[in-house]
């Protein structure tokens, strides 16, 4: 099963520590270089899906400035799914980069001075 880009970044945002909703949104934006900006409705739909699949779990609640916060953590299954997706993408990248360097290696001898 391939993963949506937003799902990938949500899981990645939880790699180093547990985070609450707004912190996940900010981290996703940071990790994606500002490309993925999640609306709250989309984030919670993603978290519901990931919770149902056992990839994340709720990990504590608190009230800060009168606002409710629930923290989420990555489960071992979520971590494995994230790494599997990263490896899949790395393999896809390698197809192109290897092709490029192979071509460069083949081209280089004839490109040099005679």
């Amino acid at each position: 099963m391939t993963m949506r880009e937003s799902t990938y970044y949500v899981l990645a945002a939880l790699l180093d520590e547990r985070r609450h909703g707004y912190a996940i949104i900010k981290k996703v934006e940071e990790l994606s270089g500002g490309r993925v900006r999640m609306a709250a409705g989309t984030l919670y739909a993603t978290l519901d899906r990931l919770s149902a699949e056992g990839h994340v779990h709720a990990d504590g609640e608190e009230i800060v400035n009168g606002r409710a916060r629930r923290y989420y953590s990555l489960t071992p299954e979520g971590s494995a799914a994230l790494r599997a997706e990263a490896e899949r993408m790395a393999a896809a990248v390698k197809v192109v980069t290897d092709h490029g360097s192979g071509r460069a290696a083949r081209v280089q001898p004839s490109a040099g001075p005679a």
Partner: protein, 286 residues
């Protein structure tokens, strides 16, 4: 409570009450954290995500993964075909043949429709068979054109029965069932009203495209309806083909008839199937 929070809470009404009780405060907290200090009204993007997210939770279609949809599609095909068959019976009731047999046939077919909506497929199948056979014996006497609609309904119910039950709980909510009937309403009217009511420009487009637009619009939330309506269209085209084969042999079928009655519905069905598949594919990704 600020005006912005009140507006966000109003948008949260798109979610079911139980979901709001569990997550409402948390979602509002995140929305308020994410809002710039000068924001007074929810951003359009946030509002749209809340409304669509809430409606998907209400419809039970928020969890795409590992839910094959073909069984559900056939459930909605059965709803649509039985609704059309019920309308046919209703038309025969209003046509002056108000007899106990006709009333019984109408009740059997309408009962099958209700039972399918309630997922009581075995009993629905029995009633659909009774309704179908009565239709043939009492009204149309086994012409291919009249037999196809109830055969299609039987086939859909039978296939749902034979299809292995999915591991996950599937939801085919009442709203989707109502929309499934609404989508075939022009077809019901076409079946139930006198042919003269449909004379005039554009009626075919109205019958064909209005429900397609409804199916696509609602299909963003529940792609099963797009696919079901496409299958229903294909069944309709097949039924119509049996008539055209007869007329064709009489030499009264023109190429514009073929385009209007076959090419256009087939194209719409293809678009709906593709759109339904694409929406579903997007949803099944994690």
């Amino acid at each position: 409570m600020t005006g912005l929070e009140r507006r966000y809470r109003r948008l949260l009404l798109a979610y079911p009450k139980a979901y709001r009780a569990e997550r409402g405060d948390e979602i509002v907290g995140t929305l308020l954290d994410a809002a710039p200090p000068d924001r007074r009204r929810p951003a359009v993007r946030q509002a749209a995500a809340l409304i669509f997210g809430g409606l998907r939770v209400r419809l039970g279609t928020q969890h795409g993964p590992r839910q094959p949809i073909w069984r559900d599609v056939l459930h909605f095909v059965a709803v649509m075909t039985l609704a059309v068959n019920t309308a046919q019976w209703a038309a025969s009731l209003t046509g002056g043949t108000l007899q106990p047999n006709t009333i019984a046939g109408t009740a059997a077919t309408a009962g099958a429709l209700v039972l399918v909506a309630l997922h009581r497929y075995r009993l629905a199948l029995l009633l659909a068979v009774i309704g179908g056979l009565m239709w043939e014996y009492l009204i149309t006497h086994f012409t291919l054109f009249s037999t196809l609609p109830w055969l299609a309904a039987l086939l859909a119910v039978l296939t749902v029965l034979a299809w292995p039950r999915p591991r996950d709980r599937h939801t085919t909510p009442a709203v989707s069932t109502v929309v499934a009937v609404a989508v075939v309403t022009p077809q019901l009217l076409w079946t139930a009203l006198p042919v003269a009511a449909f004379h005039g420009p554009g009626w075919l487009a109205w019958v064909l495209f209005a429900p397609a637009v409804l199916a696509v619009t609602f299909g963003v939330l529940d792609p099963r309806l797009m696919a079901a309506y496409a299958v229903n269209l294909l069944l309709g085209v097949t039924a119509l083909a049996t008539v055209f084969i007869d007329f064709g042999s009489l030499g009264v079928v023109t190429s514009s008839d073929v385009i209007a009655h076959f090419a256009a519905p087939l194209a719409v069905a293809l678009v709906l199937l593709t759109a339904g598949w694409l929406v579903h594919r997007r949803r099944v990704r994690l």
